[in-house]
Symmetry: C2
């Protein structure tokens, strides 16, 4: 009896998430064999060069054969095709999960095709960086990050507990959620922020009045903060908005409504209204830092990397500017 | 003959910018005496506790007396009142500058009140953090950041060169610009990003469907990136939008127009349009990193501060995710 949590883990798709899972699971000794499959020969070859797995398969069917854990790490738009392709070849009792940023759509796409003798437990590890591809992965990605599980009604308890234990072993804090509520929560905490970031970077690059080189040169004024999210994987994000359409449109509608009110306050020089909003948004960052979901380093610690150090900015409370 | 660049530097306002100038100028030995004045007794007392200057004055008149460099470090809305108050007490030949984030308005507010025998050279150091107040300052704030000077027509060349040398000595790269062009450039690189950040944090905190604690808990999905800008000083930013109204409204109009087009693309499931935007915004971050205005550290190096390290994320090029 081996003490691995799983004998064979099949990773379908080997981008930032897939490669990070491979590295973390291997580092923590959670799986015996890691089978990697991806549609792109170049990516599969790169994964092999990086030594991310034990076997590499261009056909997903070969990867899932005899696997007791299958993790779909593709853009969410590919989930249905993947489910159809692997369904007939799944081992009874296998746990099938994913890492998609939307959950209701993934359930809609995959569940109808999966046999009743496998356990389907969708996952969403809320972790990532602006980098993508198999080179982007690192074993620490999931540490102290949340992972949301959205098991359908009546899913086998033991299977859910086992997957829960797997994510916990990777360093995540695990939560259970209804898939529709998940999609609303992520629409505001992740999807809308990415859409806004992509949009402002697009607006800036289209200006005639201000050149792109000026935008780049003077980006330290705030613009550069948006460029991190706007450098995220285009395929993944296209699929997120196509598959979480309703929630994204709802949050976007509220955002635009609020922005129009702010625009009116500027036009009519309503300083009190601006001050009120600018003041109440301040405390949220402190709460995020206190919740351990952000680092308490001034300016994201950029100055610490500019060849200078100033310990003062570390773990310092915020102070009000009282003007002159 | 002393080898100080200035004998007496008067700082009017001692928040993040004022305190950073004080620390940097002292560290680099650019000034002999630092006179600090601010309207708030508490702030003035705190500045004295921190030992930021050599003399502390509740009345700006006492600070500017015999000063050969006067730097107004107040929110831009206070510039005209400051100019009126200090004008009769300025030493002939003194250089008067500021650190305001808008320039045309500062020129409009101050120039009419200043005597012809002083040199008025507005400055805008494009540097800052989300922290404010006299405790927030640090000597390295200006290193490798741009500082834009907007001297009015016919300003004394020597005075401009002297101030240029002062900012260079603080670590800045100095540029000359027309005040109106400055206001357009900053509207897109700094003012609009702050407005968007304040707005989305406001929208998120007003939701009924998703609780604030969920927003905070799952903010690592992207939302937290916006909270840094939304934690900036409310008084300073209220004044920025009241004093750069036209340019801010112009950029906001373009942003909203583009966002509406994006909303339509989501509603009509135009994946190609989404993919096109999400792809072309990607290169801008790389340009900003190459321009030395951003650090090339994945996820702002947050993982490096989570008690884990992964050298792989340092100075790594971006890799395309090729899907599965």
């Amino acid at each position: 009896m081996s003490d691995f949590m799983f004998q064979r883990m099949a990773l379908i798709g080997i981008g930032l998430l897939g490669s990070s899972i491979a590295l973390a699971a291997r580092q923590r000794g959670l799986v015996d064999h890691i089978a990697i499959t991806t549609r792109s020969e170049a990516t599969l070859h790169r994964a092999e060069e990086l030594g991310l797995g034990d076997s590499y398969h261009i056909n997903s069917v070969d990867a899932v054969k005899d696997a007791d854990l299958i993790i779909v790490c593709t853009p969410v738009g590919a989930c249905e095709a993947v489910a159809k392709a692997i369904a007939p070849h799944l081992q009874p009792g296998a746990i099938v999960t994913d890492v998609g940023s939307v959950k209701a759509s993934v359930v809609r796409q995959m569940q109808p095709h999966l046999p009743g003798n496998v356990h389907f437990v969708p996952s969403h590890p809320i972790a990532g960086t602006e980098h993508s591809g198999p080179d982007a992965g690192f074993a620490e990605l999931f540490i102290n990050r949340w992972c949301i599980l959205t098991p359908p009604e009546g899913t086998d308890e033991v299977a859910v507990e086992t997957l829960h234990a797997f994510w916990t072993a990777l360093g995540s804090n695990v939560e259970m959620m209804d898939p529709h509520h998940h999609d609303n929560v992520l629409a505001i905490t992740s999807h809308l922020p990415h859409l806004i970031a992509y949009n402002i970077v697009g607006t800036a690059s289209d200006l005639e009045l201000v050149t792109n080189s000026e935008v780049i040169k003077y980006s330290a004024g705030g613009f550069r903060d948006f460029t991190r999210l706007a450098a995220s994987d285009p395929t993944m994000w296209r699929d997120v908005f196509l598959h979480n359409k309703e929630a994204a449109l709802e949050m976007l509608g509220r955002f635009s409504e609020d922005l129009t009110a702010l625009q009116r306050a500027i036009r009519w020089e309503d300083g009190d209204k601006l001050f009120e909003l600018f003041s109440r948004t301040r405390s949220i960052r402190r709460s995020i830092i206190d919740a351990g979901q952000e680092v308490d380093v001034s300016d994201f610690g950029r100055h610490l990397r500019d060849g200078e150090t100033h310990a003062k900015t570390l773990n310092r409370d915020d102070h009000e500017y009282t003007g002159s």
